[in-house]
């Protein structure tokens, strides 16, 4: 089921993480501690000038408003991020 996962990436002091590139990611329909294999994953993603990261999930069965787990990795930072995010 197609859905969209969107999150605004910020640094630890609240600075928008604009124009990041080469982000790899994985999306899970479950909570941490009960994760299965990711339903969707990819690489080469970017954030826009506002630091917004957005990807389309294709295999996830979550519907709008349901919460999954997003894991992000920026190998150039390196930065690692994880979020509980609702599908939009």
């Amino acid at each position: 089921m197609a859905g969209t996962v969107t999150i605004d990436l910020k640094s630890r002091i609240g600075t928008a993480q604009a124009s990041l590139s080469g982000l790899s990611w994985a999306w899970f329909d479950e909570d941490v501690g009960s994760l299965n294999a990711p339903t969707d994953q990819g690489s080469g993603e970017t954030t826009d000038a506002s630091g917004t990261f957005s990807v389309t999930t294709v295999t996830s069965v979550l519907t709008t408003g349901q919460v999954g787990t997003l894991v992000l990795y920026d190998p150039t930072g390196p930065k690692i991020m994880a979020y509980r995010v609702a599908v939009s």
Partner: protein
Amino acid sequence: MYVAIVYIGAASVGDILTATGWTKDWTGDVASTTSTPRGFIFHREVPPGGLGATVDFDTSNANFDHAAVAFAITGAEATPDVIGTAQTDSSGTLSCPAVTASGTGGLALRFGFIDADDESSQPAMSGHTAINWAEDSNPGNGGGVFCWVDDQASTSVGAATASISSEEWAGQTIVVSEAGGASGASVTVNLVDIDSSVQANLSNLRWDWFNEPDPQNFNAPSDQGTVETTDGTGELVLDLPNTTLTTGQTGFLVLRDATNNFIGGYRLDID
């Protein structure tokens, strides 16, 4: 670390030992006609920086004496795999019970508590290494405590015996698993918040471990859990019995503290 104690006095006084910070794995009486010794087995993790803690007696009861031994095991699980049903009898053959463990590769610890101080050295137990022993001569005919260890190669851990001077005794068996479980692997991370404050004593941490170091290649996690804790220094150690990674190889940990709503990811090398 394990501590085994036998105190010699009236068992009817109950548990007169207090052990803050320790877990009491077993206590039981040595069937006796006179001095009625009672045995105790405690364990606890050794915190960073070493162990300065003691096991204290309830000093309100002064009518007893005791013998105690202690030993530490490197790389063992913090919680015993299985604790046996203690055996007691009055004879010249002390017997520690058979147990069935959930895994293999750990250690079988044997404990003997004897209503006498008649042994001039630690009795041998076939296949086992003698760890430590102690005796005390008072009151009555005194008491002794003896500890042995053997590799635990099978989930079926048989009974084991030692020849002693004929006396009343109690024998106990505890199996402790090797940290890391079947694979022997573990990872360690020291948790701090965004201000670098140590995140000590967090509980109910949820986590998943991936053998792949990059999310784009994640398969299903090899190991996961929901009840981990950090210690007093914020250190989190996770056993990974199912990982195929070996020491120095990098995987990926996803971690969430449901209580404080923290969530994070870490690329970590296997310890």
